[in-house]
Amino acid sequence: MSGTGGTPYAPHTDGETAAMLSAIGVDDEEALFDIPDAVAFDGEFGIEPRSEREIRAECSRIFARNDDLTEFLGRGHYGHYVPSVVDHLADRAEFLTSYTQYQPEVSQGFLQALFEYQSMLVELTGLPVANCSMYDAATALGEAATLADRVRSTSGDVVLVPDHLREAKRAVLSNYCAGADLTVESYPMVDGNADVDALADRAGDDVVMVYAENPTVRGCIEERLAAIGDLAADADALFALGSDPVSLSVLEEPASVGADVVVGEAGALGLPTAYGMGLGIFACSDEFLRQVPGRLVGVGEDAAGDRAFTLTLQTREQHIRKERATSNICTNQAWVALRAAIHAATLGPDGLVDLANDCVREAAALADRIDESSGATAPVHDRHHVREFAVRVDQPAAAIAEDLEAEGFAVHAIDEHLLQVCVTDLNAGRTDDLVAAFEEVI
């Protein structure tokens, strides 16, 4: 083992190091470095090495400084109960410590798992092509915009997004659009849904993509998706739809409302609440097959004529096509996709649909109760909701949120007098207490 101060993860004994140096023909490791003195570093980082036990204790102390709140938070990052088997299987070292399947012959297992993930997304979206991950919903939306830019021959440069869009997602989209000289514009909402009439007025030649979400970031189910799809088609704009796999298990199939691309967040499956870490969905119609960003797993044959899996259509990718690639993405979220696939498998379609339906029922019930008991208005929008809904309060929303926090609950303050509350299987058991807290603080 290496001496004190060395990395514990190199196996060299002093004797081996010496033998290796002599085989190379140098006296010490320093001789192998070809760094001019002028730029060599001889300072210190000042980082003390610690034992793994010390670090576990240290981090556990640090994390204990997060308050112990019951979270009714959503807005794009959702926690559902992740069955234990997901952790146990995904944590298998072959999955966790492998990399991109450049040698498919020794990577059949992971490739098949990703192929199955793609297939699940195909079923959920109704679209025939799904890649095996983007970083998250926001970057997937950005990639959708650049895809639109590539595939739409319109002279347009406008990407239309709903006014109710998470600000951060819009910011990411803007950064992706900036490089392609696209502009992001919002279209208005009526009572939590897209204002289809306003959208009709706005949609024109200059629009390359129309984006809608179902459910919206406020949890509202969009009721006129097909109309939006038609509008987009008429404008020769891409229709991109944002969602998540739990919602997709019950809501209108994107393909059936004319979606060309589905983006969104699949981390609602497989990932625990993870401080915003995500899993970007990217699915689209066949037409754009050679324009898809990210990795695709396909089926082929091996020399024995047996079915085998392999990464495919790699000529779209940066490592081959460089600046003409469909995206710069390389490392993606494969392991998170694996987790989502395992989670979906444990639920099965029944479990998935039940989970989604519970998110619909619980949201309606909780909104009602808050509305009835606390003097707040909920839901603010007269729509069907999945998981979450807005609440109007007379007081400043931020102050109410702070008061609720003092009671042990986290909710969103999304506007001067608007709160937002998200209920899933994880916190549904605490709704009584939340309602009581609302009564208390309002």
Binding site: D34, N66, F95, T100, A113, V250, G278, G300, E323
Partner: protein
Amino acid sequence: MIHDQADYAREDDDVHEPLLSEKDETTVDVREASPLPDDLTREELTLPAPSEPEIARHYTRLSQMTWAIDSGPYPLGSCTMKYNPKFTEDVAADPNAAIHPDRSARSAQGNLELQYRLQEFLGEIGGMDAVTLQPPAGAAGEFTGIAVAKAYHEHHGNDRSEVVIPASAHGTNFATAAMAGYDVVELPSGDDGRVDVEALEAAVGDDTAALMLTNPNTVGLFERDITEIAEIVHDAGGLLYYDGANLNALLGRGRPGDMGFDVMHYNVHKTFATPHGGGGPGAGPVGVVDELAEFLPAPRVREAEEGSGYEPFEPDNTIGKVHGFGGNWLVLVKTYAYIARLGDEGLADAAAKAVLNANYLAERLDLDVPYGPFHHEFAATAGDRDAADVAKRMLDFGVHPPTTKWPEMVPEAMLTEPTEIEGQSSLDDLSEAFNLAYADSDEALDAAPNRTAASRIDQVAAARDPQLSWQALDGE
């Protein structure tokens, strides 16, 4: 060392472990089940509904048909496949850290503190003044860094349209520059495999927004003229971008910030050994010098007033966001744990052992290795053999082959990076695999691999008729 990979097949039709959909397909009548009006729901949903024992077997079997670092050597050049310390998984699994990103700062002090500490670690290690943790991978870091550079130029009223990139650079550099709206100026490699300073001088000018460079470069050569290079770019008003993919070779011996780089990304799944997860997630934090700090993505984390903990803040002229939330949190936690485990000396030793290993391995190969002295990786050439075929044959000898046919400056390149985690005997095995495969007959190479779950896969045919889902197979 020879490795036979586990595999599963049905005798009748030679299908490997069946697809979940071949085991079960269950259809749910959604409209019957849903409390929603019919016009808002889909009709039905068809997916596999396996039981937990079936799921456990399915994924256990799939895992056994997957090569990983924990299986054996995985010397993919440029990819830096290190052993991923197990304890970092436990640290990241702390339920107290599993909070929602929209928590108030007041109630998320723990996570903010860890972010702050990691920003500080990374700043020190790279010699950078300010760090954002947000980018979710190396390429995302590049995109962030170039966007920051662009914002800087725009802020200073400079209209610059080009990014200069050496031919040997990684594909992501080119793609990133294009995504950010720049024209790419490709710089051919010099005769010594490094940047040709004269060619650089010719390429750089008023339009140059930035030069993207990795150092050591993708064949492990240190850009000895880095000071001159920096001067040239800076004199032209451009910025220097450092692609952190090879930072693992420099740890404790050189810092991009000290070499004149203005902006860089860290590739934590390479340099700091967070797991590659079969393709991700990784993380690509970005560090910049003071002048660029105001453009970094929002939020960053700083110490709040005396004794009141940590707070997120928005840099004055932030480019906004590059990820919907704060990036790949679980990966960042593992990064912190790894850096803290090694400390100054461990990090320096990791670099030293990585360089030692690459040099020792190259020494033992029958293949030629053009260029030198290299550091943590080298590109051997398979000469008149096909590098991809040699690689397939290596699979039969119980190792994962290196990256093949890249970078193109080396013909039939086998870009090899053993990292510090291999010991002498493992490197000996690895060199034997190289040498045996390299010397093997054409027939043997063609027929390889033989000991793997699948024999040679025809990727060209697969791409010709893409079948990307089990639904596509059903339709056959």
